[in-house]
């Protein structure tokens, strides 16, 4: 647990450094192709945006989710995902895929996410649709989804 936590913190530091560096070059960061360094201590590896969560934005702002490569730890392989909004890391997620017993899974799943308690300020302007707690017809008119629908009604 302790070793993993330290590893994770050092990874996060590496990410922050990386993005700070890019930001200093002019404020607009091409995070779609940014190389992260979520590797075990002593080595680095580049990553590619995950197939399921890379997020494009036509406005040119640097936003998106990026998944690091899987790293083997004694708890099992670990991946880190970061979310970037306007050149700022707004979210860090990690998860373990243990092959052992269910108790390991529970411990790991609980322990890792404790590390990202940052308040998120992600007001997304470019969204195609909204997933939320069931919207009733009564609540629809005031929902974000109704605004998105209205924008495209009538073709």
């Amino acid at each position: 647990m302790r070793r993993l936590t330290l590893w994770f913190v050092s990874t996060l530091s590496a990410l922050v450094l990386l993005f700070s560096y890019h930001t200093s070059t002019g404020g607009s960061v091409e995070t779609q192709t940014a190389a992260l360094a979520p590797a075990s201590p002593g080595s680095t590896s580049s990553t590619s945006p995950s197939s399921g969560s890379s997020s494009g934005s036509s406005s040119g702002s640097s936003s998106g989710s990026f998944t690091g490569s899987s790293v083997d730890t004694r708890w099992g392989p670990v991946q880190v995902e970061i979310t970037v909004e306007n050149s700022r890391i707004t979210d860090v997620q990690a998860v373990v895929y243990p092959s052992g017993n269910g108790r390991d899974e529970e411990i790991n799943a609980y322990a890792l996410p404790q590390l990202h308690d940052e308040v998120i300020q992600a007001q997304s302007a470019e969204v195609d649709t909204i997933s939320g707690a069931t919207v009733t017809s009564d609540g629809y008119l005031t929902s974000l989804q109704s605004a998105i629908d209205a924008a495209h009604l009538g073709g």
Binding site: G52, G56, S65, Q93, Y110, T129, S131
Partner: protein, 272 residues
């Protein structure tokens, strides 16, 4: 048999590079069925085709029929008949009952249609119905992107190189999105009490669920299972993580009462 108008190449090269979907024609439809707004969006050449328009009408008709047959709130529905103890043997209802049993098994009992108040498969029927109703649209919109949003639970498809940006509602502020997922296929569903008050029942107690999370969002290959996993994850909260992480291709995002978030990543394809 697919619509003959949609045989053009799905990709047209440079115009789709980068933010691939910008500039494509897009159209939406909305109808209210089962007390829910059902939005359909089509993006691409098929958006304005008559075939897609017909397929969307068929989709809405199919959902209305499902509501009439399986709503527990309609006294003349097949589900109401079961609740009264009357025999029923329609193939669809048998399928729904079998799926409910499988959902109960897969979620360790966190999803259970056999509630103290009687059989209520509503939590599963919506996803099941949308999957079935979307068949004609899937064909008519071949080569284009489409999504069906049923009260916040979404089934979608995007052509290679494109995706839909799906915002997940912030349960603490319904006018905000918490984060977005760019999805190109499959489904995403969110369960929580933010909009309707306490309405999700914990099957083990028969009382409103309270597990310490404000909402649970599940991404899965089908809407039926995304919906089931979101509901079950909301009912059990973080205690559902041990069985959730075992499900292939399923990803879950929890929002805890303090606003912090916990998510799982989908299991890498290379590992099996």
């Amino acid at each position: 048999m697919t619509a003959a108008t949609d045989t053009a190449p799905a990709l047209t090269g440079t115009t789709l590079a980068g933010s691939a979907a910008v500039g494509l024609p897009r159209r939406s439809w909305v109808e209210h069925i089962m007390g829910l707004p059902i939005s359909v969006h089509v993006r691409g050449d098929a958006a304005t085709s008559a075939g897609v328009d017909r397929a969307v009408c068929t989709l809405y008709e199919s959902l209305r029929e499902t509501d009439e047959r399986f709503s527990p709130y309609r006294p003349d529905s097949e589900v109401s008949a079961i609740r009264r103890g009357e025999p029923t043997s329609s193939a669809e209802l048998l399928e729904i009952r079998a799926l409910c049993a499988e959902a109960r098994r897969r979620t360790d009992g966190a999803f259970d249609a056999e509630l103290p108040g009687g059989f209520d498969p509503s939590g599963l029927v919506k996803g099941w119905a949308v999957e079935r109703a979307t068949g004609p649209l899937r064909e008519a919109a071949a080569g284009s992107d489409w999504l069906v949003n049923a009260g916040g639970d979404i089934l979608l498809h995007a052509e290679p190189g494109r995706s839909w940006e799906v915002g997940v509602e912030d349960p603490g502020n319904l006018n905000r999105t918490l984060r977005t997922f760019a999805l190109s296929h499959g489904a995403i569903a969110t369960s929580g009490d933010a909009r309707r008050g306490a309405h999700i029942t914990d099957p083990s107690t028969g009382r409103p669920a309270f597990s310490g999370v404000l909402s649970a969002t599940a991404i899965a290959p089908t809407l039926l299972w995304a919906d089931v996993y979101a509901t079950a994850a909301y009912v059990r909260g973080l205690a559902s993580l041990p069985w959730l992480v075992r499900e292939r291709g399923v990803r879950v995002l929890f929002v805890r009462a303090d606003g912090s978030r916990v998510s799982t990543l989908s299991r890498p394809k290379a590992r099996s």
